[in-house]
């Protein structure tokens, strides 16, 4: 490079060098820091200041791009050996050979320009974009750039033909016109073109406006898919069938990855339509298409889908998800039920729960299968569905869970049995009064009481009057006593009064907690006969008994 001795020129060089160095620093800041980082902000401020200074001397800045660095007025201003953060290398690699910066570039465009360079650096070799395509979309006003076509060898220049025009004889032109004159219809007649045809009227303009609006509001994937299914159904020639079937198959994971559940549902639905309607389908194509829904319901595939759903930033609508789930095979149920409690995203969880309900309604047999699962989460999910959706037809399948080793399952079974509410279900509930787990027993007795299952009175009474409750805690005791009060009604008043007042054989031996439970149970009998005993109990020396009696009296009214 030739150094100049012109002092004015030297001054300019300093300004340009400063601007370019600060631009390089700003580029490094963009690479290293987020936009809210103070270092990033400082770098931007510095480059802006440098350009402001430069514009006091220059109207514009033309920089040549070489492989080694940036050149201004024949001088290498920035030498960038490290390709890792080199501006010039990215520009040069993608064909940019010159950049013109104009005043105001520093306001906003420079950072966007450097960001595009940074973005390009991270693009893989076969990406859809390069620096030039990215810069194009930025629509810069104060940055212009020259570029060459890199990697385009087969470019034939447009050249003049070898054909040499022959000057027409004047007579031949006149003759042609004269000949046409004999055939007036051949002569151009301006009237043929009604002037009104040249201009679009308001309706036509409005029509085109609405068409363009439609263009950007339509579901492009659906349109493409619709075309592919039409081809499968209508095309006589089998050419490309394999390709289309493969495209559809490969498209499903792509769509799931993109969170487009509705399109997947559409594919599964239309596959069924094509299988039913098209007579031209080859058996192997038919078979392959039929596996789409099955494959999607496979545990591995479904795992991926639910993971996507949990991690998605934008969630599908209930309608979309419901549409997809309605296409699932019953075997999907177990995987979904296993996933539901694990989902972290509440919105996704809610959507999935609702969609699962729809699947359960459509496929009760899938719920039945889930009740036999070895996974307790699945069994619990299945029982939840039986309860929530009142799947009474599954009552006979609940019995085997009576002996399920998991307490939570047996507890959930109580609700399910109550929902099924058949005599057999209530018999099973009664059996659960003897369950080894306290929670199960409490749930069962409360449910039987709430359901006013008189058939259970004997067992409940035996518990109340027997020894089993002696070691029980207050909650369990109270549950049993209250259930007894509800189920026995008026007939139970004398027994409860005796226990509450500590009369008879049990006098002195009855503990205050049990007497308090008896007092609460008196209230549950809803019988006026309970009043005298309760009136006495409100004056009992034990506070717990007095308190229970007051509440019971209020309940009696």
């Amino acid at each position: 490079m030739t150094e100049t001795t012109d002092p004015e020129f030297l001054t300019d060089t300093t300004l340009v060098e400063r601007a370019m160095h600060r631009m390089a620093k700003c580029h490094r800041a963009i690479i290293l820091y987020l936009a809210n980082n103070p270092v990033y902000h400082e770098a931007v401020r510095n480059v802006q200041a440098a350009f402001h200074e430069l514009w006091e001397e220059e109207d514009q800045l033309l920089i040549h791009v070489t492989e080694d660095g940036l050149v201004w007025n024949g001088k290498l201003i920035i030498e960038e050996e490290n390709k890792g953060d080199s501006i010039s290398w990215v520009l040069f690699k993608d064909g940019v050979r010159g950049v013109v910066f104009e005043p105001s570039v520093e306001d906003d465009e420079l950072v966007r320009f450097l960001s595009a360079i940074h973005q390009t650096r991270n693009l893989p070799e076969d990406a859809d974009d390069d620096l030039l395509t990215l810069l194009w979309h930025e629509e810069f006003q104060y940055i212009k750039y020259d570029y060459i076509d890199v990697g385009l060898d087969d470019q034939r220049p447009l050249e003049h033909s070898d054909q040499h025009e022959e000057a027409p004889l004047v007579s031949s032109v006149q003759q042609e016109v004269a000949e046409e004159a004999k055939r007036p219809e051949g002569i151009v007649n301006i009237e043929d073109f009604d002037s009104t045809l040249h201009f679009l009227d308001d309706d036509e303009i409005q029509y085109l406006d609405s068409e363009i609006e439609r263009e950007y509001n339509q579901d492009l994937r659906r349109i493409v898919l619709s075309g592919l299914f039409d081809v499968l159904e209508l095309q006589h020639d089998q050419t490309g069938y394999d390709e289309i079937v493969t495209i559809l198959e490969d498209f499903i994971p792509y769509l799931l990855g993109a969170g487009d559940f509705q399109s997947v549902a559409y594919i599964l639905r239309e596959v069924q339509v094509v299988i039913q309607r098209s007579e031209r389908l080859r058996p192997d194509h038919r078979e392959k298409l039929a596996t789409f829904a099955t494959k999607l319901s496979d545990p591995e595939a479904l795992d991926q889908l639910l993971q996507t759903l949990d991690e998605a930033h934008v969630h599908p609508t209930e309608e979309d998800l419901g549409a997809l789930f309605s296409e699932f095979q019953p075997k999907a149920m177990e995987t979904i039920l296993a996933w539901l409690p694990r989902l972290l995203n509440e919105r996704a969880k809610d959507l999935l729960a609702r969609a699962t309900d729809q699947l359960a309604i459509a496929h009760p047999t899938a719920v039945k299968r889930s009740l036999n699962s070895e996974d307790r989460t699945v069994v619990l999910g299945g029982l939840g569905l039986v309860t929530r959706l009142k799947l009474t037809t599954l009552g006979p399948d609940l019995g085997k869970l009576m002996s399920h080793e998991d307490t939570d399952v047996r507890e959930a079974l109580v609700d399910a049995l109550a929902t099924v509410a058949t005599p057999s279900a209530f018999t099973q509930l009664e059996q659960l009064l003897d369950d080894g787990d306290r929670e199960v027993r409490i749930a069962a007795v409360r449910t039987l009481g709430a359901k006013r299952q008189g058939g259970a009175l004997g067992r409940v009474e035996a518990a109340v009057t027997g020894k089993t409750l002696r070691t029980a805690d207050l909650t369990e005791k109270r549950a049993f006593y209250e259930a007894f009060g509800i189920l026995a009604g008026k007939d139970g008043v004398s027994r409860l009064a005796a226990i509450g007042l500590g009369q008879g054989l049990l006098k002195r031996k009855t503990d205050p907690e049990t007497r308090a439970c008896a007092a609460m149970a008196l209230g549950k009998t809803r019988s006026a006969d309970a009043h005298p005993a309760l009136e006495k109990l409100v004056r009992d020396k034990e506070p717990i008994v007095r308190n229970a009696a007051e509440k019971a009296l209020k309940e009696l009214g």
Partner: protein, 497 residues
Amino acid sequence: MTRPSGPHEPERRSTIIDATEATETETRQRGRACLKAIYAALRNLKLYPVENEQAQKSLDELERTTKELIEREGELEIRIAGQLLFVNSTRLRLDLHSYASFSYVISTFRQAEVGVMTVVAGVNRKEWQVLISLLLSFAARDTAPNKLSELREKIALGGITHITVDPPASSEADLVDEERQKEVAKRTYERSVAITNELAESARMGRSASVKKVKRAVQGIVDQVLNNEITLIGLTTIRDYDNYTFTHSVNVSIFAVSMGKRLGLNKTQLFDLGMGAFLHDVGKAKISKEVLNKAGKLTDEEWQLMQLHPTLGATTLFSFRGYGDIPYRSMIAAYEHHMGINLKGYPKSLRPRDLSVYSKIITVADVFDAATSHRVYRGRDPLMPNEILQELLDDHERLGIDVVLVKALINLLGIYPVGTCVILDTYEVAIVHGVNPDPSHIHRPLIRILFTTDGGRVTDAPVTDLAETNPDGSFKKTIIKVTDPEKYGINVRDCFV
């Protein structure tokens, strides 16, 4: 090569109206209002006496809109550069709602030899009235060497102190610029054809095509259409029959993007449309060359094979991506461009389908370009370009094309499309260079004379505007016949390369 960028317009995919409103700066909106007011004043003062209520109203509106803009920006500068209109350095985009008015203003300014008009604060209604009247008067006059000087004198005499007029950029600079733009346009075209070739080869060999190269080609076409549409459209007259499939795709892309520009699409929308057009025939790469290039009529079997190309195009484009999204819009265009708006074409449609407007645009561009080529109408003489446009209008139902878009194409190309060889009433032979910028002269294109009245060959003839009139108001030259350029040994491409 420098690729100037346009003013920043944030990307937004919404309605055309939304997009237009969202992307226009306030200057652009106010500038548009001013230009419309100038147009209205020019029209009304031409049609009615100045006392007329309509004329008065338009002057009121002109005073109001210009005052508002000057209050905000300090001054108003209207500059004409080629077919581009700038208000305070902001280019106004033509759209369906404005192109006729703006073209009228450009035409009037040009005829009055005004390139720049500057208005400063303090301008009043009286000044506008005098200036508009002067512009109309000078625009109607015959070309004279000192026309602008005379206009300036009249402006001074008329007491106009807040408005000045200046000539357009020097004609020498225009020529240099024209040559430079022509070179840029040629390179854009050459590159696009090369990329189409490469794309077809990749598709044929089952290799992945370079998406970024195609994007760059289409971006180049969009830039050229936005900046120098007329030159690029001129290049569509290139009929390289060995390379028909490639030049055809590029031509369709140029026509489609140019039509899109007329319809007011923004830059990103033009890119989407251009991509669809560029790739619309990509499926042909999978049809055997024997069928594709067969000179005679196709057999039924060959025709069936040919009809597969839209489907093959759509399926080919499934693999046309690197790490980006699948190009659905281009796939739809490839798939739908032979369906016809009545869906009677191919491939057949069983499921409900509303053709994409981009497919409709591409169909019109495709039919026009194919019809102007020898290749498609095998064994039939090609129609003259103007006959093709007439046929598209008359036969749009059978062809399954949208007649409204045919009108848009005529608006773009004029009645005599670029490259049409014409005989004038002077017995000169000429080639149409471009549509007349004044829409009211759609049948009077810009031409280049190739042979004089006495048969002499003209080289490097300047562009002649057939709307030019004699002092008595009659037109100087008029087309009396469209002719086959081959009759006169003219290779149309040479006029544009």
